[in-house]
């Protein structure tokens, strides 16, 4: 579906002059610095995939999305989506594409939600039957009918976001870009939106690319994750692999049946001890937890064992912190 090869986007940042003549000087100013927002990234995404696109602020996520939507023309590199170069055939491309920018809205501010939906029906030339079917489906999944006749300016953020999602999926797009669709929402609203995205992705086989800072979204929705920082893709693969590779240590909590003096075992260190309950931390390094448990069973009697995997949130915080460290050392 999407094939990107060595995509590069550079921006010129012009020097800004202030004051009465500043505006005029700004128009003719040529002093600038070049910033590489996206630096030779390559990836492929198959139809029907649901991919999480992650990275810290300023990593180049939005710039990539804007190139994928055909709004920005890359400085160099190749990109085709379903055989089309997005910025060359913009109208053809956007017809089969949907977008939600969480911080913006596509809805008409002072009119009821239904007016925007009706308008989109005409703009995308959606056949009557398809329109009805989707509106019914969204009424079901998003509770759209509760606020269809309320002006957008009076909606809560959660309702507005649900309406924006409905607007993006109304014309059965083949591919949808969601840019922070759960930003600022409460737990229930987030849950509802995640449920919706998961359902549409599995039922309509819509390709979804999701950028978010909410790791709940990622854990719940994305099997595949792409991580980008400073314009470069640093990880592209299964979420499980990301966690096992970068997630740091796993924890094994053992409840011993008897008192022992020495509880140390090879390949793990004790991080907490509370009565007979001991917490070990270890790197699994591909072997999994089996050797540790064998070792334990050979030397001790235990009553209960539980295993804690690092969660997505800890893992990603870990990765960001590592990168942060790498950057600061570059400047030293």
């Amino acid at each position: 579906m999407i094939v990107a090869k060595d995509l590069v986007k550079e921006f010129k940042i012009y020097q800004h002059h202030r004051g009465a003549f500043g505006a005029i000087r700004n128009m003719f100013s040529t002093k600038h610095t070049i910033v590489r927002a996206v630096d030779q990234i390559s990836f492929q995404i198959a139809a029907g995939e649901l991919v999480g696109y992650l990275g810290p602020n300023g990593a180049g996520k939005s710039t990539t999305i804007k190139m994928l939507t055909g709004i920005l023309v890359p400085t160099s590199g190749e990109l085709t989506i379903g055989g089309i170069v997005p910025w060359r055939e913009r109208v053809k491309h956007v017809r089969r594409m949907g977008v939600v920018f969480g911080q913006r809205t596509t809805l008409w501010w002072d009119l009821p939600v239904i007016e925007t939906m009706e308008l989109l029906r005409h703009i995308y030339k959606i056949p009557e039957r398809q329109y009805r079917r989707n509106m019914d489906m969204f009424a079901d999944l998003l509770g759209l009918s509760e606020f269809l006749n309320i002006p957008v300016r009076s909606l809560s953020l959660g309702q507005r976001m649900r309406a924006d999602l409905a607007a993006a999926f109304l014309h059965d797009p083949e591919i949808v870009f969601l840019d922070e669709p759960t930003i600022g929402l409460d737990v229930l609203a987030k849950e509802r939106i995640r449920q919706f995205i998961a359902t549409i992705n599995s039922e309509k086989k819509t390709t979804v690319i999701l950028t978010t800072h909410d790791l709940g979204d990622v854990a719940k929705l994305c099997r595949r994750v792409m991580m980008i920082d400073r314009g470069k893709v640093l990880f592209d693969g299964a979420l499980a692999e990301l966690v096992s590779r970068f997630g740091g240590e796993r924890r094994l909590i053992v409840d011993f049946a008897e008192e022992y003096d020495d509880l140390s075992i090879a390949g793990a260190r004790i991080v907490a001890k509370e009565g007979r309950k001991v917490t070990y931390a270890f790197h699994s390094n591909g072997n999994g937890v089996a050797p540790l448990i064998e070792n334990l069973s050979r030397n001790y009697k235990w009553a209960d064992i539980s295993l804690q995997d690092p969660d997505v949130e800890t893992t990603i915080r870990h990765i960001y912190e590592q990168w942060e460290g790498d950057h600061s050392s570059e400047y030293c």
Binding site: I71, V91, V94, Q103, R104, T106, I123
Partner: protein, 263 residues
């Protein structure tokens, strides 16, 4: 595709209907300000009779007409496109399979039709009734006026798109745009009649698109000879085509180099 534009214009029209109280307040304001301007111009007329070819009745028609067009021509400036470029909202419009210029024009039409029907027309009729001015317009002249009015709004729209498009190049385009708006208001004869200009400026103005936005429909309303009407209309068509091409070129170049703000 036509249906999408029609629907856009209708939605834009509906949007105006929400603000009925604002509309009434607008009529009241335009009316008061209209009286003030009318008496000012009548005083000028008294001091120098026959100035610019105007008499008492035509001064009233001029004032009523300009007050009636305050809202449809967006005399106090129109920054919608500029604002969406600055805020980055333009991204949602780019992601729609619709012509960008056409989309904005459809919205402008919806707005203009509402403002003409609900504000301009009542205002004009009130003005004429209060001053007891008869407006004699034959059916053919009435038709010519309607065509001229439509063309005037079209030319005005393209001009507004052009000064808004400045925002593609500079972030402080508002100043340039406000300046462009003021200059155009003066040169189209909205602030004082073109007939009041010194002769050299009157001639110079005829070489610009500005009379096509206001002065030409006004002239037709004041009953120019029938032979001149076609010439006036074709001048409007000429400027309409030039400005459409200019606005579209600017949008085309602008969108190619645009950096969507924020995100």
């Amino acid at each position: 595709m036509i249906r999408a534009y029609w629907k856009l214009a209708k939605t834009s029209f509906k949007r105006q209907m929400i603000y009925r109280a604002a509309n009434l307040a607008g009529i009241a304001t335009n009316l008061c300000w209209g009286f003030f301007r009318a008496y000012l111009l009548l005083a000028v007329l008294e001091a120098s009779p026959g100035v610019g070819g105007y008499d008492h009745d035509s001064i009233i028609i001029y004032t009523g007409f300009s007050q009636a067009l305050t809202a449809p021509l967006k005399v106090f400036g129109w920054w919608d496109l500029l604002r969406t470029i600055k805020s980055g909202e333009i991204i949602s419009d780019f992601c729609k399979p619709i012509d960008f210029y056409g989309m904005w024009y459809a919205r402008d039409c919806g707005h203009a039709v509402y403002q003409l029907a609900a504000r301009g027309l009542p205002l004009m009729l009130l003005f004429l009734a209060i001053f007891r001015i008869p407006l004699r317009l034959s059916a053919s002249m009435g038709l010519a006026f309607l065509i001229s009015m439509t063309l005037a709004l079209q030319v005005s729209f393209s001009w507004r798109m052009i000064y808004n498009a400045m925002a593609f190049w500079t972030l402080d385009a508002k100043g340039v745009a406000a300046m462009a708006n003021i200059v155009s208001l003066f040169l189209m004869g909205f602030i004082i009649p073109v007939g009041f200009f010194p002769p050299w400026l009157q001639q110079a103005v005829q070489l610009t698109p500005f009379p096509a936005m206001f002065d030409i429909p006004l002239a037709i309303l004041m009953d120019v000879p029938g032979t001149e009407v076609l010439l006036l209309l074709s001048r409007q068509v000429f400027w309409m085509l030039i400005l459409i091409i200019a606005a579209r070129c600017l949008l085309h170049i602008g969108t190619k180099k645009v950096v969507i703000q924020g995100g």
